[in-house]
Amino acid sequence: MTFNALTGVLVVPAAAAALLAALPNYRATARLNVAATTLTLICALSLFLGRPQPSSYLLVDDLNGTFIVLTTFVGFTTSVFSLSYIGHELEIGRLTPPFVRFYHAMYQVLMFAMNLALVANNIGLIWVAIELATLTTVLMVGIYRTPEALEAAWKYFILGSVGIALALFGTILIYMAARPVVGEGLDAMVWTVLITRAGDFDPALLDLAFVFLLLGYGTKVGLAPLHAWLPDAHAEGPTPISAVLSGLLLNVALYALLRFKMLLAVNTAALAPGPLLVTLGLISLVFAAFMLYRRRDIKRLFAYSSIEHMGIIAFAFGMGGPLANFAGLLHMTLHSLTKSAIFFAVGHVAQVKGTRRIGDMGGLTETNPVLGWSLVLGVVAIAGLPPLGIFMSEFLVVSSTFARAPLLAIILVFGLLVGLAGLFLRLNSIAFGEPRGTNAKAQASYVPMFAHLALVLAAGIYLPPPLVAWFQNVARLLG
């Protein structure tokens, strides 16, 4: 096989993982980590220039092209952030060099797994990739070896495995549905084949399969009531991993669900997957919005905010139609950028203040103006205030819902407002008021955070027409 961009997206992280596991010097490996993610990003971008023909295992189309670029971009900026973050952790002795080596290797394995899940054209391969991503993140969440970290990792592992197991059962059922139509063997698991023949599948089997897939991958998306692992895993792992979990891994699981949703949409006799997603999305949104009020831990606060936003995105895709899908895609992209920027800020805040307890920190805008105001800007963005991008995507979700189901729109707006108030209540005590807590010097790298926030701000003010056309095209694909 000749070298092309698609193999690059997979081979670069895989090779980097092996290399990082072998090299002992942690200063050099941290830079190598950045170099590898840069190279992966370049490969991903060059997919726009020309894409290979779909094979039985791999596929690149407009839908996953969007996801791949987003994943590799956030993967790249997070590796830049992790350079300074991990340096600090080494200095204060929370991590030792062997663990750092392990961390960098696992980071690349995670990138590989997520890229594989995105480019897989085979429903079995998607499952394998998501399983691999789950296992790597379990190891990363437990890396500090504190009792809390171990409990979080154990909980995540058990709940994640059960979810993954249910998803596999759903995958087997899809194969069973496809076998009488497509025939035995590999073809009956190839997505591009399935989508053309799904109209003839047995609808009852498809329904059952989708329920299992929704429960399975829905656990990984963090939809309430399947979300129990998410706040712990976000809070206890290293902050770069929280950023990647929130910004990317949840999206990847959602992407898998969307692929199966498209299969069901082709079959007119099967149940409509939309209402299921809408229901779970609304439950997640309202539940997480209320949970924001009682958070005492800053990372848990933003973990619940991620559940809230995954709820909004699932809701938008569940509503379907060109406008709601467009809004969902835009919201997903902007949420990834904003939430990872917030976690970059939070990571430095926790390092400066020496704690994650919201009660022990205060007056951040006074003591660390740059960090404090960036956090404020990030929270303003994630809460959905203009002129930042998320305001626009939330506005699109709400307005497209009002036109079709006013009652649902009212619940949606209610959830959004409750979440907004909750976030600002907590932000107020963190960023303003009497300075509290220790005040170590931040040796932060602000560039990734600023880059993300600038993109979100720019998207709120002006969306370039080619991007709009691209998203509209993908939204049509999603049906």
């Binding site: 085979n122 079995g124 391969l125 499952w127 394998v128 399983e131 296992l135 379990v138 190891l139 437990g142 070896r145 009792p147 809390e148 171990l150 409990e151 979080a152 990792a153 154990w154 592992f157 058990i158 495995s161 059960v162 197991a165 249910l166 596999l168 059962f169 995958t171 087997i172 059922l173 194969y175 069973m176 076998r179 009488p180 035995e184 063997g185 590999l186 009956a188 698991m189 047995d202 009852a204 089997l205 329904d207 059952l208 706040p231 712990d232 809070a235 206890e236 958070r295 005492r296 831990d297 848990r300």
Partner: protein
Amino acid sequence: MSRIDFDIAHLLAGSLVLISFLELYQDRLYALLNVYALHALALAASVAWQAFVQDAPHLYVTATIALAFKAIVIPVVLHRIIVRLGIHREIEDVVGVGPAMLAGIGLVALSMVVMLRVTHGADPLAREDLAFALSVVLLGLLMMVTRRNAVGQVVGFMSLENGLVLAATGAKGMPLVVEISVAFSVLIAFIVIGIFLFRIRERFDTVDVQVLDRFRGERG
């Protein structure tokens, strides 16, 4: 397919469900591991029979993995771990034996009703295999819920995976990629769990998950 082929496949898959019930009420870890080994043995036999009936030689690989890895290596290693941790005495269940068995019967009935109704188009062997497989999966889940002990939960998870392998082999002609991945994932999962158990032992002197709960992230 001849009548006798069908009956044997049925017998083996059914025995897997029965052994799942046996696992449900074991209150000693040693006994639990022995029953799990039996579970894996029944799985290996069932997969091997499917390989023979479907004339699919690659399934023998899956059967061998089930036999060597799940029925022998894992139980032996777990035996050694629980001896080293000094927890080979009793394990407590959250709910009693009676309610657990009743819940199990309910779950089997549920999976029969669901699967047989949904799959009437498929061929009889595959459809009944799938119904049995779903029962095993649900019983594995039930076991994970009723056990407080980390080792018990892990055994529950592994029997759940056995149910998945049964389903995958029952689906005729399913590509090998999935079977290998399942076996592989059990291997990885096992390593992960092994590491965790040791760490947990180091930190808490117990593998009782309830003790872990004391350290929940947000107290105070």
